[in-house]
């Protein structure tokens, strides 16, 4: 999924996967922080968004 998304031009880092057990609260915080930072660094998504429902 990630591979194909990136293959068709979605920036690496925009889609991320992780596996966190319910006991791993600190890992959860770390991952969320990391994801937020990397997505913020990428800025708003411009490619894979539907511009408006009313285009055409």
């Amino acid at each position: 999924m990630k591979n194909l998304m990136e293959h068709m031009g979605v920036e690496p880092g925009r889609l991320q996967f992780s596996w966190i057990s319910s006991a791993e609260s600190t890992k959860f915080v770390d991952v969320v922080t990391k994801v937020t930072e990397s997505v913020k660094a990428l800025g708003p998504n411009t490619n894979y968004v539907k511009k408006s429902a009313a285009k055409v």
Partner: protein, 283 residues
């Protein structure tokens, strides 16, 4: 390859006459150049209509889905791999089938009959992987082909370039869905594109909706696509839809050493869990 037809007719006639099967799924002569029409023969006297040449592009596994009768099916290499998929996915049972294997030398490109269809040019499974009857000597498999040149070219692009490449690739798509309907893997009773509650994607021609369709169609074929090329051959707009599925096919090959539809004895990688499954994508 034309020489197979005598044998195909002979086997079909025998199977119908002795009641082994109720019908034969094959091709009959098309009404326009470079096309043959998939057909179902139920009477031995109609076996004469069968043809075999390099214009038998569609994948006949697609015509077996959910059928109940005993069927003889004519299968080139890729058809036989999709038949294997169908058996694994319980879309037909092995016992229902008599597979008439055709060692294949490739189908010609419908737009350029001088050359082979692109997937055929690099095909490494021309011989049927499963069969009960054979209509000719097995052919030598190609080994020195580079299947993924085009995928690597896209992989090497920058993100924006990739985005633009697929934008251009899909620009003529009308969402006629010939690509998914020609594919034996697409058999869901209601496709996600047709669902309206919830509406997964818009139904119009917005490029984002078109892309989402293609991306998800390909994803649903991950680990199952045999690169048979039926989707691409079916597209009336000549869109290279295999650019999506091939990336996944390549990844499956590299990550799991998996090629779809080679054996009925192994579960596909995306359908099973192993401790040593690659997990590079998990952070």
């Amino acid at each position: 390859m034309e020489s197979y037809i005598g044998k195909i007719k002979e086997i079909s006639e025998r199977l119908l006459n002795d009641g082994t099967v109720e019908c034969v799924v094959g091709f009959r002569k098309g009404t326009v150049a470079l096309t043959n029409e998939p057909c179902m023969i139920t009477k031995a006297s109609d076996v004469k209509d069968l043809v075999w040449d390099s214009n038998c592009r569609l994948n006949l596994a697609n015509y077996l889905t959910g059928r109940k009768e005993k069927i003889a099916v004519i299968a080139k290499g890729c058809d036989s791999r999709n038949i294997v998929n169908h058996i694994i996915e319980n879309k037909i049972s092995r016992e229902q089938l008599v597979i008439i294997g055709v060692p294949c030398k490739g189908m010609v490109d419908k737009n350029n009959p001088e050359s082979l269809q692109s997937n055929c040019a690099t095909c490494t499974h021309r011989n049927p992987v499963i069969y009960d009857e054979l209509c000719g000597e097995l052919v030598e498999e190609q080994t020195d082909v580079d299947k993924y040149e085009d995928v690597r070219a896209v992989e090497a692009m920058e993100t924006q370039e990739k985005w633009a490449f697929f934008e251009e690739l899909l620009s003529g798509c009308t969402r006629c869905y010939a690509c998914k309907n020609a594919c034996p893997l697409c058999y869901c009773p209601t496709c996600f594109v047709d669902e309206s509650q919830p509406q997964w994607i818009g139904k119009g021609t917005d490029p984002i909706d078109v892309r989402t369709y293609h991306f998800l169609r390909a994803y649903h074929c991950a680990g199952r696509c045999t690169d048979c090329g039926a989707c691409e051959a079916a597209c009336p707009q000549n869109i290279k839809v295999r650019q999506f599925t091939k990336k996944l096919e390549k990844d499956c090959n590299e990550l799991y050493g998996w090629e779809a539809g080679l054996t009925v004895d192994q579960r596909p990688p995306l359908d099973s869990f192993k401790l040593d499954d690659p997990d590079k994508f998990i952070m």
